[in-house]
Symmetry: C2
Subunit: 95 residues, 2 copies
């Protein structure tokens, strides 16, 4: 699936609800889903990890729709290598 | 960009570093980036919102790589409509 299709899918399924809810409440939902993903990553089954990963991406796409920005634009910085050092593989000092 | 290409890009650029860091530390980075995205969504410029959105997606893809799951699988639940009510647009009771 294309990144643009992820956003189009979320707009079709949740666009009206997203607009009614607004960005701050959507950020709260995103954080809740990130917590569920963190738990699944630590001790969940593979199915649970897939489900929570999808939920985080879904909320991220919904918020992008509300902000009028795209996941595609967000990834553009990474296409030519690490945004900090410009290399691929990244050669930044270990953080 | 395809979801699979997002993960392939992260694997090429950060795969070795991700493996060395491990999932728990990567989750910590994801949370930090979610916080930066939340701030950008509230009061950042459009460019800052795009940048932080990309960073969240990048970390999400890196963790998916480490877990051996895919963003594509995660989105599959949404393709046929809302995973809870099965409809598109979603017809779930307001949360």
């Amino acid at each position: 699936m294309e990144l643009s299709e992820v956003q189009a899918l979320m707009a079709r399924t949740y666009g009206d609800r997203d607009t009614a809810r607004g960005v701050p409440a959507s950020i709260a939902w995103l954080c809740e889903e990130v917590g569920e993903f963190a738990r699944a990553a630590r001790k969940g089954s593979r199915d649970q990890q897939v489900e929570e990963l999808g939920d985080v991406l879904a909320w991220l796409a919904s918020i992008a729709n509300q902000l009028g920005v795209t996941l595609e634009e967000g990834m553009a910085r990474y296409v030519a290598g690490c945004p900090r050092c410009g290399r691929s593989p990244c050669g930044c000092p270990a953080a």
